[in-house]
Symmetry: C2
Subunit: 147 residues, 2 copies
């Protein structure tokens, strides 16, 4: 459904959401290893998500790394797709018409539009926090000990 880049973006953001805090930032090495993605490529993606007060926060230098503010945690997953310029995927026509619309529908449109709406709703209503929480329930992660 999504590009590799977007998949990495989603996995990385969820991982950061689960394991980081402002006091406990994560390095790119750990993140890439944890989500099983190429390190440098993932770094570029995190740059994108970090740019101009984006979804992810970052600090350079020793003790630095990536983390999610509690405000960012509450943002919908669709914001990640938007930054990755893939939120358009959800609105696209199955047959590749310029625009998926009622005005100029393709023969799949009538049957597809309902599914499309569900997809949009899913990504709009689900927050990063919810995914992180769900992931914790599925496979608990050893959170770093407070010092």
């Amino acid at each position: 459904m999504f590009s590799k880049a977007t998949e990495y973006a989603l996995r990385a953001t969820i991982y950061i959401a689960r394991k980081s805090s402002e006091e406990n930032k994560l390095g790119i090495e750990e993140i890439a290893k944890a989500i099983n993605s190429p390190k440098s490529f993932t770094a570029k993606i995190l740059q994108k998500l970090t740019a101009n007060n984006g979804i992810i926060s970052s600090v350079r230098g020793p003790g630095g790394g990536f983390y999610l503010s509690s405000k960012a945690q509450k943002r919908p997953v669709r914001d990640i797709l938007h930054v990755m310029e893939e939120d358009g995927v959800l609105g696209k026509c199955v047959l590749g018409l310029k625009k998926c619309s009622e005005a100029m529908p393709c023969p799949m449109h009538a049957e597809y539009k309902g599914i499309k709406q569900q997809l949009i709703q899913l990504f709009e209503h689900t927050t990063i926090q919810q995914l992180a929480h769900d992931a914790d329930k599925i496979i608990p992660l050893n959170k770093p000990a407070r010092h």
Copy 2:
């Protein structure tokens, strides 16, 4: 959702289904023009769909071209996706895990699996003929006159 190649495959097949018959075959020139796709690239795709008694039938030489047998018309759209090796898209994990499964679900899985099932059902239950018929209802096509 799908690659350009698959979009062209779907559009071309539907167009052929609407306008062709064994007595009235269509040339690649007309098809590419009608579905607004690059001619040579589309030719390659039709080759794929034609290979070893595939979905589309073809005949070379004067009066030749592409057409759909009435048997092929009744095949599900998913068969096109299968030939294009994109039927896997429907089963893929949203976050890009190797396998989307109950055994090792990602945090989107619970919410996504229902939508995924609908997508699979849609492509499995919809036939090429149905799409062609629906398309005719939306935008009637001037069918070639019998001679």
